[in-house]
Symmetry: C2
Subunit: 219 residues, 2 copies
Protein backbone atom coordinates (compact mmCIF):
# COMPACT_ATOMS: atom_id res chain seq x y z
CA UNK A 1 0.00 0.00 0.00
CA UNK A 2 1.01 3.63 -0.47
CA UNK A 3 1.78 5.94 2.45
CA UNK A 4 -1.68 7.51 2.11
CA UNK A 5 -3.34 4.10 2.50
CA UNK A 6 -1.02 3.25 5.41
CA UNK A 7 -2.18 6.48 7.04
CA UNK A 8 -5.87 5.61 6.56
CA UNK A 9 -5.44 2.01 7.74
CA UNK A 10 -3.39 2.95 10.82
CA UNK A 11 -5.13 6.19 11.69
CA UNK A 12 -1.71 7.85 11.91
CA UNK A 13 -1.26 11.14 10.00
CA UNK A 14 1.09 11.06 6.99
CA UNK A 15 3.34 13.73 8.54
CA UNK A 16 3.66 11.59 11.68
CA UNK A 17 4.48 8.47 9.62
CA UNK A 18 7.22 10.45 7.84
CA UNK A 19 8.56 11.59 11.22
CA UNK A 20 8.71 7.97 12.43
CA UNK A 21 10.52 7.01 9.20
CA UNK A 22 13.09 9.79 9.67
CA UNK A 23 13.60 8.85 13.35
CA UNK A 24 14.10 5.20 12.42
CA UNK A 25 11.13 4.06 14.54
CA UNK A 26 9.39 2.78 11.41
CA UNK A 27 11.35 0.77 8.82
CA UNK A 28 11.47 2.13 5.27
CA UNK A 29 9.00 0.82 2.70
CA UNK A 30 10.10 -1.00 -0.47
CA UNK A 31 11.08 1.69 -3.01
CA UNK A 32 9.12 0.95 -6.23
CA UNK A 33 9.68 4.32 -7.95
CA UNK A 34 11.77 7.42 -7.32
CA UNK A 35 8.97 9.04 -5.34
CA UNK A 36 6.92 6.04 -4.26
CA UNK A 37 7.42 3.38 -1.61
CA UNK A 38 5.28 0.37 -0.88
CA UNK A 39 4.22 -0.48 2.70
CA UNK A 40 2.79 -3.70 4.10
CA UNK A 41 1.35 -5.32 7.22
CA UNK A 42 4.68 -5.15 9.03
CA UNK A 43 4.40 -1.34 8.90
CA UNK A 44 0.86 -1.42 10.22
CA UNK A 45 1.95 -3.69 13.08
CA UNK A 46 4.89 -1.42 13.90
CA UNK A 47 2.69 1.69 13.91
CA UNK A 48 0.31 -0.03 16.33
CA UNK A 49 3.24 -0.78 18.64
CA UNK A 50 4.60 2.79 18.43
CA UNK A 51 1.18 4.20 19.32
CA UNK A 52 0.83 1.78 22.24
CA UNK A 53 4.25 2.81 23.60
CA UNK A 54 3.56 6.50 23.03
CA UNK A 55 -0.09 6.90 24.00
CA UNK A 56 -0.65 4.16 26.57
CA UNK A 57 2.91 3.62 27.85
CA UNK A 58 3.60 7.41 27.70
CA UNK A 59 7.22 6.64 26.79
CA UNK A 60 9.47 9.38 25.41
CA UNK A 61 10.72 8.85 21.85
CA UNK A 62 14.24 7.94 23.07
CA UNK A 63 12.79 5.08 25.16
CA UNK A 64 10.59 3.95 22.27
CA UNK A 65 13.71 3.75 20.09
CA UNK A 66 15.33 1.37 22.56
CA UNK A 67 12.27 -0.85 22.64
CA UNK A 68 12.06 -0.87 18.82
CA UNK A 69 15.76 -1.78 18.62
CA UNK A 70 15.09 -4.73 20.91
CA UNK A 71 12.15 -5.81 18.74
CA UNK A 72 14.34 -5.60 15.62
CA UNK A 73 17.29 -7.42 17.18
CA UNK A 74 16.27 -11.00 16.42
CA UNK A 75 19.33 -12.29 18.28
CA UNK A 76 17.68 -11.08 21.47
CA UNK A 77 15.41 -13.65 23.13
CA UNK A 78 11.73 -12.85 23.51
CA UNK A 79 12.31 -12.70 27.28
CA UNK A 80 15.02 -10.05 26.99
CA UNK A 81 13.00 -8.12 24.42
CA UNK A 82 10.01 -8.03 26.78
CA UNK A 83 12.34 -7.06 29.62
CA UNK A 84 13.55 -4.03 27.67
CA UNK A 85 9.96 -2.85 27.21
CA UNK A 86 9.00 -3.65 30.78
CA UNK A 87 11.98 -1.78 32.24
CA UNK A 88 11.25 1.24 30.01
CA UNK A 89 7.72 1.43 31.47
CA UNK A 90 8.97 1.92 35.03
CA UNK A 91 10.03 5.27 36.42
CA UNK A 92 13.74 6.09 36.49
CA UNK A 93 14.94 5.68 40.06
CA UNK A 94 18.14 7.09 41.47
CA UNK A 95 19.31 4.91 44.39
CA UNK A 96 20.00 7.00 47.49
CA UNK A 97 23.12 5.44 49.00
CA UNK A 98 23.07 5.04 52.75
CA UNK A 99 22.05 2.67 55.47
CA UNK A 100 18.30 3.25 55.04
CA UNK A 101 18.49 2.45 51.33
CA UNK A 102 20.68 -0.61 51.83
CA UNK A 103 18.36 -2.05 54.47
CA UNK A 104 15.31 -1.57 52.25
CA UNK A 105 17.14 -3.00 49.25
CA UNK A 106 18.13 -6.03 51.32
CA UNK A 107 14.49 -6.48 52.29
CA UNK A 108 13.41 -6.35 48.63
CA UNK A 109 16.08 -8.84 47.58
CA UNK A 110 15.14 -11.19 50.43
CA UNK A 111 11.46 -11.01 49.49
CA UNK A 112 12.17 -11.88 45.85
CA UNK A 113 14.46 -14.73 46.91
CA UNK A 114 11.89 -16.11 49.35
CA UNK A 115 9.28 -16.07 46.59
CA UNK A 116 11.69 -17.94 44.32
CA UNK A 117 11.11 -15.39 41.56
CA UNK A 118 13.49 -15.36 38.59
CA UNK A 119 14.31 -11.65 38.42
CA UNK A 120 17.58 -10.14 37.17
CA UNK A 121 19.78 -8.76 39.98
CA UNK A 122 20.09 -5.68 37.74
CA UNK A 123 16.34 -5.16 37.28
CA UNK A 124 15.56 -1.45 37.83
CA UNK A 125 12.23 -2.61 39.26
CA UNK A 126 14.16 -3.70 42.38
CA UNK A 127 15.28 -0.07 42.89
CA UNK A 128 11.76 1.13 42.27
CA UNK A 129 10.36 -1.13 44.99
CA UNK A 130 13.26 -0.22 47.28
CA UNK A 131 12.38 3.47 47.02
CA UNK A 132 8.77 2.74 48.00
CA UNK A 133 9.91 0.60 50.95
CA UNK A 134 12.20 3.42 52.17
CA UNK A 135 9.28 5.87 52.01
CA UNK A 136 6.99 3.45 53.87
CA UNK A 137 9.58 3.02 56.60
CA UNK A 138 9.97 6.78 56.99
CA UNK A 139 6.20 7.11 57.36
CA UNK A 140 5.97 4.34 59.94
CA UNK A 141 4.03 1.96 57.67
CA UNK A 142 4.41 -1.80 57.70
CA UNK A 143 6.87 -2.89 55.02
CA UNK A 144 5.79 -6.51 55.04
CA UNK A 145 4.81 -6.96 51.39
CA UNK A 146 4.39 -10.73 51.27
CA UNK A 147 0.60 -10.66 50.88
CA UNK A 148 0.94 -8.14 48.02
CA UNK A 149 3.65 -10.23 46.38
CA UNK A 150 1.62 -13.44 46.58
CA UNK A 151 -1.41 -11.63 45.18
CA UNK A 152 0.62 -10.25 42.25
CA UNK A 153 2.17 -13.66 41.62
CA UNK A 154 -1.21 -15.40 41.43
CA UNK A 155 -2.71 -12.73 39.17
CA UNK A 156 0.24 -12.77 36.78
CA UNK A 157 0.62 -16.55 36.57
CA UNK A 158 -3.09 -17.39 36.33
CA UNK A 159 -4.36 -14.58 34.13
CA UNK A 160 -2.02 -11.86 32.93
CA UNK A 161 0.69 -13.75 31.09
CA UNK A 162 -1.90 -15.69 29.08
CA UNK A 163 -2.70 -12.48 27.22
CA UNK A 164 0.85 -12.20 25.81
CA UNK A 165 1.19 -14.04 22.45
CA UNK A 166 4.71 -15.42 22.91
CA UNK A 167 4.62 -17.26 19.57
CA UNK A 168 3.35 -14.44 17.33
CA UNK A 169 5.24 -11.57 15.73
CA UNK A 170 7.67 -9.90 18.16
CA UNK A 171 5.77 -6.59 17.96
CA UNK A 172 2.54 -8.30 19.06
CA UNK A 173 4.09 -9.73 22.23
CA UNK A 174 5.58 -6.36 23.23
CA UNK A 175 2.35 -4.53 22.41
CA UNK A 176 0.28 -6.93 24.54
CA UNK A 177 2.73 -6.65 27.44
CA UNK A 178 2.77 -2.84 27.35
CA UNK A 179 -1.00 -2.44 26.98
CA UNK A 180 -1.65 -5.07 29.64
CA UNK A 181 0.85 -3.65 32.10
CA UNK A 182 -0.50 -0.13 31.86
CA UNK A 183 -4.25 -0.58 31.31
CA UNK A 184 -4.93 -3.62 33.50
CA UNK A 185 -2.73 -1.87 36.10
CA UNK A 186 -4.92 1.21 35.87
CA UNK A 187 -8.10 -0.92 36.04
CA UNK A 188 -6.80 -2.80 39.09
CA UNK A 189 -5.98 0.45 40.83
CA UNK A 190 -9.54 1.76 40.31
CA UNK A 191 -11.05 -1.60 41.36
CA UNK A 192 -8.95 -1.55 44.51
CA UNK A 193 -10.33 1.90 45.44
CA UNK A 194 -13.87 0.74 44.66
CA UNK A 195 -13.29 -2.25 46.95
CA UNK A 196 -12.00 0.14 49.64
CA UNK A 197 -15.24 2.10 49.46
CA UNK A 198 -17.34 -1.04 49.68
CA UNK A 199 -15.33 -2.54 52.54
CA UNK A 200 -15.40 0.77 54.43
CA UNK A 201 -19.22 0.83 54.08
CA UNK A 202 -19.36 -2.73 55.39
CA UNK A 203 -17.09 -2.05 58.37
CA UNK A 204 -18.35 1.30 59.59
CA UNK A 205 -21.87 0.96 58.26
CA UNK A 206 -22.02 4.33 56.53
CA UNK A 207 -24.39 4.54 53.62
CA UNK A 208 -22.63 4.56 50.28
CA UNK A 209 -25.83 5.94 48.77
CA UNK A 210 -24.97 9.46 49.88
CA UNK A 211 -22.40 11.55 48.10
CA UNK A 212 -19.48 12.59 50.28
CA UNK A 213 -19.31 16.31 50.85
CA UNK A 214 -16.75 18.00 48.69
CA UNK A 215 -17.56 15.84 45.69
CA UNK A 216 -19.06 17.94 42.95
CA UNK A 217 -18.76 15.39 40.18
CA UNK A 218 -21.65 13.90 38.32
CA UNK A 219 -21.86 10.12 38.26
CA UNK B 1 4.37 24.10 72.49
CA UNK B 2 5.44 27.21 70.59
CA UNK B 3 5.46 27.41 66.80
CA UNK B 4 9.24 26.89 66.78
CA UNK B 5 8.84 23.64 68.74
CA UNK B 6 5.96 22.56 66.50
CA UNK B 7 8.30 23.10 63.56
CA UNK B 8 11.06 20.97 65.11
CA UNK B 9 8.67 18.20 66.16
CA UNK B 10 6.88 18.03 62.80
CA UNK B 11 9.84 18.73 60.53
CA UNK B 12 7.75 21.41 58.79
CA UNK B 13 9.36 24.84 58.35
CA UNK B 14 7.85 27.72 60.35
CA UNK B 15 7.04 29.68 57.18
CA UNK B 16 5.15 26.65 55.86
CA UNK B 17 3.23 26.26 59.14
CA UNK B 18 2.23 29.93 58.92
CA UNK B 19 1.09 29.40 55.34
CA UNK B 20 -1.10 26.45 56.42
CA UNK B 21 -2.55 28.60 59.22
CA UNK B 22 -3.38 31.40 56.75
CA UNK B 23 -4.94 28.93 54.28
CA UNK B 24 -7.04 27.38 57.04
CA UNK B 25 -5.49 23.93 56.55
CA UNK B 26 -4.13 24.04 60.10
CA UNK B 27 -6.35 25.23 62.95
CA UNK B 28 -5.15 28.23 65.00
CA UNK B 29 -3.29 27.62 68.24
CA UNK B 30 -4.56 28.82 71.61
CA UNK B 31 -3.62 32.50 71.90
CA UNK B 32 -1.80 32.90 75.22
CA UNK B 33 -0.31 36.35 74.57
CA UNK B 34 -0.60 39.03 71.91
CA UNK B 35 2.26 37.52 69.93
CA UNK B 36 2.30 33.96 71.19
CA UNK B 37 0.08 30.96 70.49
CA UNK B 38 0.25 27.52 72.02
CA UNK B 39 0.10 24.38 69.86
CA UNK B 40 -0.55 20.78 70.85
CA UNK B 41 -0.69 17.21 69.57
CA UNK B 42 -3.74 17.95 67.42
CA UNK B 43 -1.56 20.35 65.40
CA UNK B 44 1.16 17.74 65.02
CA UNK B 45 -1.40 15.18 63.83
CA UNK B 46 -2.87 17.64 61.36
CA UNK B 47 0.56 18.52 59.96
CA UNK B 48 1.27 14.81 59.44
CA UNK B 49 -1.98 14.48 57.49
CA UNK B 50 -1.29 17.57 55.35
CA UNK B 51 2.15 16.25 54.46
CA UNK B 52 0.70 12.83 53.59
CA UNK B 53 -1.90 14.41 51.29
CA UNK B 54 0.64 16.77 49.75
CA UNK B 55 3.75 14.64 49.38
CA UNK B 56 2.39 11.11 49.02
CA UNK B 57 -1.12 11.82 47.69
CA UNK B 58 0.24 14.66 45.49
CA UNK B 59 -3.03 16.52 46.01
CA UNK B 60 -3.31 20.21 45.12
CA UNK B 61 -4.00 22.58 48.04
CA UNK B 62 -7.65 23.04 46.95
CA UNK B 63 -8.25 19.28 47.20
CA UNK B 64 -6.44 19.13 50.55
CA UNK B 65 -8.80 21.83 51.84
CA UNK B 66 -11.83 19.70 50.95
CA UNK B 67 -10.36 16.68 52.73
CA UNK B 68 -9.52 18.77 55.82
CA UNK B 69 -13.07 20.15 55.83
CA UNK B 70 -14.41 16.60 55.84
CA UNK B 71 -12.07 15.69 58.72
CA UNK B 72 -13.27 18.75 60.69
CA UNK B 73 -16.96 18.16 59.98
CA UNK B 74 -17.77 15.77 62.82
CA UNK B 75 -21.35 15.41 61.57
CA UNK B 76 -19.89 13.51 58.60
CA UNK B 77 -19.56 9.75 59.19
CA UNK B 78 -16.11 8.20 59.06
CA UNK B 79 -17.19 6.40 55.88
CA UNK B 80 -18.09 9.64 54.08
CA UNK B 81 -14.97 11.36 55.39
CA UNK B 82 -12.80 8.55 53.97
CA UNK B 83 -14.79 8.69 50.73
CA UNK B 84 -13.93 12.38 50.33
CA UNK B 85 -10.23 11.58 50.67
CA UNK B 86 -10.46 8.52 48.44
CA UNK B 87 -12.29 10.39 45.66
CA UNK B 88 -9.74 13.23 45.83
CA UNK B 89 -6.93 10.74 45.19
CA UNK B 90 -8.35 9.63 41.84
CA UNK B 91 -7.81 11.53 38.61
CA UNK B 92 -10.55 13.89 37.44
CA UNK B 93 -12.39 12.18 34.62
CA UNK B 94 -14.63 13.89 32.10
CA UNK B 95 -17.25 11.42 30.84
CA UNK B 96 -17.32 11.32 27.02
CA UNK B 97 -21.02 11.02 26.17
CA UNK B 98 -21.84 8.56 23.42
CA UNK B 99 -22.66 4.95 22.80
CA UNK B 100 -19.13 3.69 23.48
CA UNK B 101 -19.03 5.42 26.87
CA UNK B 102 -22.53 4.26 27.85
CA UNK B 103 -21.75 0.65 26.98
CA UNK B 104 -18.54 0.70 29.02
CA UNK B 105 -20.28 2.42 31.92
CA UNK B 106 -23.02 -0.22 31.83
CA UNK B 107 -20.32 -2.89 31.96
CA UNK B 108 -18.71 -1.24 35.01
CA UNK B 109 -22.04 -0.89 36.82
CA UNK B 110 -22.93 -4.52 36.05
CA UNK B 111 -19.56 -5.71 37.35
CA UNK B 112 -19.96 -3.82 40.63
CA UNK B 113 -23.54 -5.10 41.02
CA UNK B 114 -22.48 -8.69 40.34
CA UNK B 115 -19.77 -8.38 42.96
CA UNK B 116 -22.35 -7.07 45.42
CA UNK B 117 -20.09 -4.13 46.26
CA UNK B 118 -21.53 -1.21 48.21
CA UNK B 119 -20.33 1.69 46.06
CA UNK B 120 -22.11 5.02 45.60
CA UNK B 121 -23.78 5.41 42.17
CA UNK B 122 -22.10 8.83 42.13
CA UNK B 123 -18.57 7.54 42.86
CA UNK B 124 -16.15 9.19 40.39
CA UNK B 125 -14.16 5.96 40.52
CA UNK B 126 -16.90 4.45 38.33
CA UNK B 127 -16.11 7.02 35.64
CA UNK B 128 -12.42 6.38 36.05
CA UNK B 129 -12.86 2.66 35.44
CA UNK B 130 -15.25 3.39 32.56
CA UNK B 131 -12.60 5.45 30.81
CA UNK B 132 -10.09 2.60 31.08
CA UNK B 133 -12.65 0.10 29.76
CA UNK B 134 -13.38 2.36 26.77
CA UNK B 135 -9.66 2.56 25.98
CA UNK B 136 -9.26 -1.23 26.29
CA UNK B 137 -12.16 -1.80 23.91
CA UNK B 138 -10.66 0.61 21.36
CA UNK B 139 -7.37 -1.29 21.55
CA UNK B 140 -9.02 -4.69 21.12
CA UNK B 141 -8.20 -5.88 24.65
CA UNK B 142 -10.42 -8.11 26.75
CA UNK B 143 -12.57 -6.02 29.07
CA UNK B 144 -13.48 -8.91 31.36
CA UNK B 145 -12.24 -7.58 34.69
CA UNK B 146 -13.78 -10.14 37.04
CA UNK B 147 -10.47 -11.77 37.97
CA UNK B 148 -8.97 -8.35 38.74
CA UNK B 149 -12.02 -7.36 40.77
CA UNK B 150 -11.97 -10.57 42.82
CA UNK B 151 -8.25 -10.13 43.43
CA UNK B 152 -8.75 -6.54 44.61
CA UNK B 153 -11.66 -7.57 46.81
CA UNK B 154 -9.67 -10.27 48.55
CA UNK B 155 -6.64 -8.02 49.07
CA UNK B 156 -8.72 -5.18 50.49
CA UNK B 157 -10.91 -7.29 52.77
CA UNK B 158 -8.17 -9.57 54.08
CA UNK B 159 -5.29 -7.14 54.44
CA UNK B 160 -5.69 -3.51 53.42
CA UNK B 161 -8.60 -2.30 55.51
CA UNK B 162 -7.03 -3.72 58.66
CA UNK B 163 -4.39 -0.97 58.45
CA UNK B 164 -7.01 1.81 58.79
CA UNK B 165 -7.63 2.74 62.47
CA UNK B 166 -11.39 3.36 62.25
CA UNK B 167 -11.64 4.05 65.98
CA UNK B 168 -8.77 6.51 66.39
CA UNK B 169 -8.63 10.24 65.67
CA UNK B 170 -10.26 11.14 62.34
CA UNK B 171 -6.96 12.41 60.95
CA UNK B 172 -5.28 9.07 61.62
CA UNK B 173 -7.86 7.10 59.63
CA UNK B 174 -7.59 9.44 56.65
CA UNK B 175 -3.81 9.44 56.81
CA UNK B 176 -3.64 5.63 56.88
CA UNK B 177 -6.08 5.37 53.96
CA UNK B 178 -4.18 7.88 51.83
CA UNK B 179 -0.73 6.46 52.56
CA UNK B 180 -1.97 2.90 52.07
CA UNK B 181 -3.82 3.65 48.84
CA UNK B 182 -0.84 5.39 47.25
CA UNK B 183 2.18 3.52 48.63
CA UNK B 184 0.83 -0.04 48.73
CA UNK B 185 -0.59 0.68 45.27
CA UNK B 186 2.86 1.69 44.08
CA UNK B 187 4.41 -1.38 45.72
CA UNK B 188 1.83 -3.69 44.16
CA UNK B 189 2.48 -2.20 40.74
CA UNK B 190 6.24 -2.85 41.05
CA UNK B 191 5.63 -6.36 42.40
CA UNK B 192 3.32 -7.10 39.48
CA UNK B 193 6.06 -6.13 37.01
CA UNK B 194 8.61 -8.20 38.93
CA UNK B 195 6.20 -11.15 38.72
CA UNK B 196 5.85 -10.53 34.96
CA UNK B 197 9.60 -10.78 34.56
CA UNK B 198 9.75 -13.98 36.56
CA UNK B 199 6.80 -15.59 34.78
CA UNK B 200 8.21 -14.60 31.38
CA UNK B 201 11.52 -16.27 32.31
CA UNK B 202 9.60 -19.40 33.32
CA UNK B 203 7.49 -19.52 30.15
CA UNK B 204 10.04 -18.71 27.46
CA UNK B 205 13.09 -19.93 29.32
CA UNK B 206 15.20 -16.81 28.84
CA UNK B 207 17.85 -16.21 31.44
CA UNK B 208 17.00 -13.38 33.78
CA UNK B 209 20.65 -13.25 34.74
CA UNK B 210 21.51 -11.17 31.68
CA UNK B 211 20.72 -7.48 31.46
CA UNK B 212 18.38 -6.62 28.60
CA UNK B 213 20.00 -4.46 25.95
CA UNK B 214 19.12 -0.81 26.31
CA UNK B 215 19.27 -0.92 30.08
CA UNK B 216 22.08 1.24 31.32
CA UNK B 217 21.07 1.32 34.96
CA UNK B 218 23.11 -0.04 37.80
CA UNK B 219 21.40 -2.50 40.11
Amino acid sequence: MRVSELSVESGVAIATIKYYLREGLLHQGRQIAATRAEYDDSHLRRLRLIRALLEVGRLPVAAIKKVIEAVDDESLSVHLMLGTAQYALGPTIEPEPGEEWDTARGQVDTLIAELGWDVSPEAPTRDELTQTVVRMGQLGMSTDLMVYARTAEKLVAEAEMDTVPFDGPREAAVEALVLGTVLYGRAFDALRRLAHESESARRVGGSAREVPSGSDRAG
